[in-house]
């Protein structure tokens, strides 16, 4: 809780005023992991935006938003899993991350549902081109209109809210890669050439254990609503394995270390020249930005707000963990802004040299930084086996000593047909036998090949209990052209989105901005195996049946339609008749030749 308070202290301060600012938070995590959280904010006043006068706000994106009447946009690219047990609560309370693959939701202004759908289609197609992602595959079967899960983050005029349509789509199978990073960088004013964005290297970024890129566009107004800005926030969060990231790019293979480099546990009875039980690590690994990201920071982004330059890079670690700042030629000391937080600025002028690095040295193990405990653990898995039916089981565990209310949303593909009557919500834990956890259900059934199932459940989990949600489903049989090329892999089912509703204590302790962003959690993808035909079979079957048909049908048809007569019964089968026939033919031929001749003669005359 304390940490999130700190975070909001740092990041909410940038809500208004300046036009562009950037932030990097580094937090060493247990087991040699490192959280790097990048945040970029570019603002455009709504008047300049409407006049198409773009300065920090990227024109390419701005024009798309204008064309499609999109008032608020959230786009996520994610990879991997957040390990809540080891790494604590999610950065930004999960409000700046998406499910595995690509997730997109937006508030589109439109007079009718039909118009909203058309604009949404335009939006997804335009974004698809802009971000080199298959966003254009978000069609009606993957689009839903969430009811309870999302609320607008921006401040929209109350009279416009009626015309705003929330549409949500996801592509769980989309693999996020460097091709998506490049367009992301291009939207930044410094385009990865200076500032913290110069650390982005596709190889390191996508070697992370968990990684998410987010783009959020929302209107932010002052208290009286007189002055509005359009705020674009670009966020990249990742958890790197320091040891893995430190491996040089030309030799990335983790070969077994030479035995001399391994510290053996000499207390073991078997310890000898050929047996060695390695000791657990007792030192913090040494690392620098150069080691971990493969690059140094090349100075501050000159376009960023000068008033805000002091706290661009912050390290969230215990004070015992020491590091050295190498900032060109100049000496810098990190400013202690909170017990566990030290911040520093980036070199801004060529006079002191632009290269900036943080050097963490090898030192005895320090106590880990106090991590916020997550408020909910969620795990979803597929139950059952076989190709006909299956089940989904989601286990939501509330570790805290106060009840938690949440909205659980699932968007299922149409070929997965859930049975709502099998939906079962059970709460385990003492005294919860008769607890009614399910408060509200919103369900929109699927229509084959047109739209998917949309389920939203309002749930409450009592203190320190576990809620198990389960339902059964049938698997549809697809038409054979509907299968993707890797049909036997199975079909991805999008992660469930869980929104934790604020309780009274949260409302008191968090800022309005944070409350608006909400607290989110997403489960992992699921792989749904569907009955898959043997795709080489049709050819064999077609060839075989055609042959059988040709042979069998041909001869039977022949037998049926022919009339069989004995040779001697045939009229005119005698020798004389045959000779007569031949004579006749000969004569007719002669006649025709003669006729042609005489015809020619006539013409000549």
């Amino acid at each position: 809780m304390f940490f999130s308070f700190l975070l909001c202290l740092f990041f909410t301060s940038l809500a208004y005023g300046s036009d562009y600012r950037e932030r990097l938070l580094l937090r060493p995590l247990p087991h040699g992991a490192l959280l790097a959280s990048f945040n970029f904010q570019s603002n455009a006043s709504s008047t300049s935006f409407e006049q198409q006068n773009f300065r920090y706000f990227p024109r390419s994106l701005g024009q798309i938003l204008q064309h499609t009447h999109t008032k608020e946009l959230h786009l996520r690219f994610s990879l991997g899993r957040w390990d809540a047990e080891a790494w604590g609560a999610r950065p930004w309370n999960g409000a700046r991350e998406g499910g595995t693959g690509v997730e997109l939701w937006a508030w589109v202004e439109a007079a009718s549902d039909k118009e909203a759908n058309a604009r949404w289609l335009t939006l997804t197609n335009a974004l698809s081109g802009l971000f080199c992602a298959s966003l254009n595959f978000i069609d009606s079967t993957r689009t839903i209109r969430p009811v309870m899960t999302f609320e607008p983050e921006g401040s929209h005029p109350p009279n416009a809210l009626g015309n705003l349509h929330l549409l949500h789509g996801n592509l769980p199978h989309e693999v996020v890669c460097t091709e998506n990073l490049t367009p992301f960088l291009k939207l930044l004013p410094c385009k990865g050439k200076a500032g913290i964005s110069s650390l982005f290297d596709g190889h390191k970024l996508f070697d992370a254990s968990w990684q998410t890129m987010a783009i959020d566009v929302r209107p932010v107004c002052t208290g009286d609503g007189s002055e509005c800005v359009l705020e674009m926030e670009q966020t990249v969060d990742m958890v790197l394995d320091i040891e893995r990231s430190k491996r040089p790019r030309d030799n990335p293979i983790p070969r077994p270390a030479p035995i001399e480099d391994i510290r053996c546990d000499e207390s073991k009875f078997y310890n000898s020249h050929d047996s060695c039980m390695p000791l657990a690590k007792s030192t913090e690994p040494a690392w620098s930005l150069q080691d971990v990201f493969g690059r140094q920071i090349s100075g501050a982004c000159p376009l960023s707000d000068a008033n805000d330059a002091e706290r661009v890079i912050c390290v969230n670690a215990v004070p015992e963990r020491t590091f050295e700042i190498r900032s060109g030629a100049a000496q810098r000391v990190a400013e202690q802004v909170a017990p566990d937080m030290r911040c520093t600025a980036l070199p801004s002028g060529p006079e002191e040299g632009l290269d900036f690095d943080l050097l963490f040295s090898d030192q005895p193990l320090t106590p880990p930084v106090n991590l916020t405990r997550p408020r909910l653990h969620a795990f979803r898995s597929m139950t059952g086996h076989g190709q006909e039916r299956g089940g989904i089981e989601a286990v939501l565990r509330n570790p805290l000593s106060q009840p938690v209310s949440l909205v659980y949303m699932e968007s299922l593909p149409w070929f997965m047909k859930p049975y709502l009557h099998t939906l079962n919500v059970a709460v385990s834990g003492n005294g919860n036998r008769d607890f009614q956890a399910l408060k509200e259900t919103y369900y929109r059934p699927a229509v084959d090949r047109e739209r998917g199932t949309h389920i939203e459940l309002l749930l409450e989990i009592p203190a320190s209990s576990t809620l198990t949600l389960s339902y059964d489903f049938d698997k549809a049989i697809l038409r054979y052209t509907e299968y993707p090329p890797d049909a036997n892999r199975g079909f991805d089912v999008a992660p469930a989105v869980i929104r934790l509703l604020p309780n009274a204590a949260d409302i008191a302790s968090t800022s309005a901005d944070e409350r608006q962003k909400g607290v989110y959690l997403r489960t992992t993808d699921l792989l749904l195996p569907l009955p898959t035909p043997d795709f080489s079979m049709p050819y064999n079957v077609i060839i075989l049946t055609s042959t059988v048909m040709a042979l069998g049908f041909g001869s039977i048809f022949n037998l049926l339609v022919r009339r069989f007569v004995a040779a001697d019964e045939v009229e005119g089968a005698t020798l004389r008749a045959r000779i007569a026939g031949l004579k006749e033919r000969f004569r007719s031929k002669l006649q025709s030749i003669w006729a042609r001749h005489s015809g020619k003669g006539e013409k000549d005359q």
Binding site: P278, E393, T524
Partner: protein
Amino acid sequence: MFLLRELLAEIRIATAILGLRHDPRLLKLPPYLSALCILVGTVWLLLLPLNEYSRQTYVSENALLPGQVHTYFGGSEHNIFRAYRHEVHALEHKSAEERTEKFVELLKDCGLKVGRQKYEYSSAGNTVSGENVYAVLQGPRADATEAIVLIGAWRNMDNVINYSGVALVLTLARYFKRWSLWSKDIIFLLPFDSASGSQAWVDAYHDAHDPLHVQPLSIKSGALQGAIAVDYPAGPWGHRFEKLHIVYDGVNGQLPNLDLFNTAVNIASGQMGIGTTLQRMWHHSDSYRDRLMTMLRGMLSQGLGHVSGPHSAFIPYHVDAITVQTVGDGWHDEMSLGRTVESLCRSLNNLLEHLHQSFFFYLLMQANRFVSIGTYLPSAMIIAANFTITSIVLWVQSGRPAAPSKVASTSNSEKEKAKEPDLTIVKEGRNVALVPAAAFEVIERHLFLPVGFIATVHFLGLLPLYVFNTAPQATLKASFTIFTILTLVLPHAFSQALARIPPQPPTPQQITLIQSFSLLLLGLFLSALATLNFSLSLMIGLLSTPFSFVRPSKSPILVGLMNLLLAAMAPPVVMGGIAWWFGKDVGELLAQASFGWHVWGMWTQVVIWLVWWPAWVTASVVAIGALY
């Protein structure tokens, strides 16, 4: 003209065939046809090991790329492996609880998520309980949708402690953690024993477990793509092995995708230079004899449908799995085995789709030779067809007037009389013909008794199925002896009852119908079973062949001979014989079968007691019925 002549010839043949329908010779043919089916089926099977009928194996799935990667498991990992082996060996005399704790600790030290699972099964009055430990390595490139399982059971199928196997899995867990290339999660599973531990785990993974006996899993990953079990029971000082024995049989004769087996063979022999063997054929000279032997052993194992290693439990869930077992004395050490497993995991990690390309139905006769279902299936089908042919013939026979009885006729005058059948005059328009009256006689088939009898006998099959699956082990042997005697007496009792029970003893037609229905069912079951478990169908088919040729007879000598032959082929007698041949106790065998029924979901018993046993009882009743 030529065509016409040919067609006329065809028509002539067709008429000839139609005419043959009434030919009495035709009815004499089927027994020979049945015998021919059995002969062809058997010879077909014996031809399979020949080069002309079997094929060289090949890797069908391109993504597997077996043996295409460098393996780095070696160097200091060897020292670490030895340390783990000492650790594992030190656990030998510890309690199960302490051992589990230690495994959890070792896996947690590797930085993995660890889960535990208790289970308790009871069958035949025995209770098997244990605790599995497993750890999930979350692949850096994975999104929790797919997973590979690496298994090291504490005890292998021979109940020997698998020291080096467990140590190898632990070392590999530590080693794999460093790699960033895993695109699937890797689950390291240390089951308590081979026969039930992995079964409990995989059941719970798919939520198909009985929560009363098996704990659910606390952590899970995605869909399982493959499983590899390591069986290397060498003690703390190691043991150099000669070959790798690849075990691939699943429960109920289900097999893993042939690609997985091929990948293992390819990696072991191609990349590592380790010989591979299968079906306990320690020495395989690639001769016809050895190939046939391998194939028959494979068929026996498949037909019995029992678990052959910790991997077997995975196969019913469509997770392809094998066990890699070390055999013999040679010069390959644990690191070679480790590199083989590493390479196998890398190959599985390469998979883009679930293994589906290659064969799921095959018979292996050597590590690199197989026959696929298209080639071997006809043999079991032809044998099953022999019952259907006989059954149809018996049905036709039952609809005909009883032939002028050969048995009853004794005197010459009667024979003379028999040669002059009753004739009737048939008129159609202006045509008049003399036709035997028998051709117009309408015979009614009395179905009630045959259908009732068949239903009763099949229903009675539930009795041994129930008794042998629920009785405690101590009583199994005694109940088996009693049941054997009962089985041998039962046909006599049935015949007595049929003869005594009013209104009248069964007519020959009813006896024929009883046999017809019994054989019809047998043919039906066996041909359906052949597509599921070829070997079991073939074995039951071959053991049932006499049932096609049994006919009621009044000659006591013939009946005695038939009875003797059938008694020797009685299911319990055959089972007892097999147990004796392999030097096993029948009680123990039945206890194992009962364990299989309760834990593995094995249904070999169902086929034996509900298909084979009723068919035998019916055949025996048919054979001796005429005496009563």
